[in-house]
Amino acid sequence: MSDYYGLPTLKQPVWTWEVPAYFFVGGAAGAAATIAAAARMAGGRPELVRDARWIAAVGGAISPPLLIGDLGRPERFLNMLRVFKLQSPMSVGAWTLVAFSNAAGAAAFADWIDRATGGRVPVRVIGNAAETVAAATGLVLSTYTGVLIGATAIPVWSDNVRVLPVHFGASAVGAAVSILELLGHRDPALNLLGAGAAAVETLVGASLELSSREALVPLKQDWTGAVVRAGGVLSGPLPLALRLMAGRSPSARKAAAVSTIVGSLLTRVGWLAAGRESAART
């Protein structure tokens, strides 16, 4: 609260629900593209590669409408591609998303052609190349959103600028793994990857809880704190414990997947809401 009638110094973010939704969808899509590429290189099941490619493609198709919907002047969305500015994470993100959506779509489409024609049309090389581009841009897509909100004047965001990309990246991997599992994939690698993401989320949550910096108050108090904490538990320690039991209990694994997806979504909603609260406290 400022000394001037307690009025905030900073303006609150004007972003609406589409932005946290995009953080979730784009992040999961980006991580799914990386999973598709890694699974193929490691000789994983082609059905897993196919579905991971499709998750990336569908996420890459949903993300632009979400971002356009949040604009004050949606009809001017192409102005995002007027310039490329390295110093603007939003510009970097817009260009990354364009590259990702095209590559992820091409990779999934190539897989479909390959299957539909029984391999007679030589699209596999193109599909694999597109998949590699999607994986590379997907790595940026699932992490840059942390830089996007971290490099702002909002105290709770800028205070966590180092950890946010890792936090959102782990959240993205957890969500992508969980969506694949809910589609019926039971590969042990997915459970292992999900456990790794949940472990990172647990560490991030613990470090935030153990710190008592003034800027972190919106992550701990009121409804914004409740949402961030619920998201943290549902994508961190809870799925980690469930995944460690997954060998014995398939239902534990399914529960972990559901918990991770809900937690990943709540994490983004909570952090965006905490930003509004943080600005109101300046």
């Binding site: 082609p46 002047r73 391999g119 600028v161």
Partner: protein, 292 residues
């Protein structure tokens, strides 16, 4: 010519002529009609439809402990009035700071926000698509998105008037020369000279607000204030958010590395330990599944 505002709050009488002149010249729409109860000001702050705003800082002084400097004591003698419940108004006409390193300009993904030849920061309304990133990257809380329009707005530094060789509307309208417009280096000299003058008169708390020692690198709206900047809702240590980019992208690189390494390790590791569950490479498996 690189220009600036020098807003001297010790000269401001709170008439709000600058607000009105700004509204009229720039055809800024209504910013609402609300009763804030904050002194005699019902506008509260800068926003998408308020590009100049006169702050009414009320100062109450209780007894002899903290009397308003320059008013209460004749030199060396007994206090001369204003002893109990003394009151003073400080008025300050706030405006976009037109930072030397502007967070909004750096963050704008469309290139709508540009630096003009006069050194000001200008939002091109025909380019802005209302992404809202400038709103969260302004360290002074100046830029805002107008809900019914969808675009971001703030002080234009009267770019059109400057182009035509005129002064900004607010400076032209100011009846006390509290708002002075001119060449930036001259105004900086003038600001510090004014501080010397005020201090010589016993106004010890007069300061220049021009955060040149922060990452903002100084502003094109310089202020002469009394007391701490926070009392005028100005941050004492504003930082341009681009200073966080190095940490942010380092974090992103660490995150991306973890994802890449973790994903590869998970799939290669499990295929080595359970060769049965990951049958061969994908093309071989695809052929195998087709043969079945």
């Amino acid at each position: 010519m690189v220009t600036a505002f020098l807003t001297d709050t010790t000269l401001c009488i709170g008439c709000k002529a600058c607000e009105v002149a700004c509204k009229e010249w720039n055809q800024v729409p209504s910013d609402g009609c609300t009763f804030t109860g904050f002194s005699y000001d019902n506008t509260a702050g800068l926003g998408h439809s308020t590009w100049r705003h006169v702050k009414f800082v009320e100062r109450m002084f209780d007894g002899a402990s903290a009397e308003p400097a320059g008013l209460s004591r004749a030199s060396g003698s007994e206090p001369r009035g204003y002893r109990s419940n003394a009151f003073r108004w400080d008025f300050s006409s706030d405006v976009c700071k037109h930072c030397e390193h502007a967070g909004c300009l750096e963050a704008c993904p469309t290139g709508s926000i540009v630096r003009t030849e006069f050194g000001g920061v200008y939002i091109q309304p025909d380019v802005c698509n209302g992404c809202g990133y400038c709103v969260v990257t302004c360290p002074f809380g100046v830029v805002d998105r107008r809900p019914d329009d969808g675009r971001a707005f703030k002080c234009t530094f009267c770019y059109d008037r400057q182009k035509a060789g005129l002064q900004p509307a607010c400076a032209t309208a100011c009846p006390t020369e509290s708002i002075v417009f001119g060449e930036i280096d001259e105004l900086r000299v003038r600001a510090y000279a004014r501080i010397e003058e005020l201090r010589a008169r016993g106004i010890e708390d007069a300061v220049v607000y021009d955060p040149q020692d922060t990452s903002v690198g100084g502003t094109h709206a310089i202020f002469v204030l009394r007391g701490r900047p926070e009392e005028y809702n100005l941050p004492s240590k504003p930082e341009v958010p681009t200073v966080h980019l190095r940490d942010g992208w380092t974090g992103a690189a660490v995150g991306a590395g973890l994802i890449l390494f973790g994903t590869l390790a998970a799939f290669i590791g499990t295929s080595l330990t359970n060769p049965g569950t990951n049958p061969g490479n994908s093309s071989r498996a695809l052929r195998a599944s087709r043969e079945r």
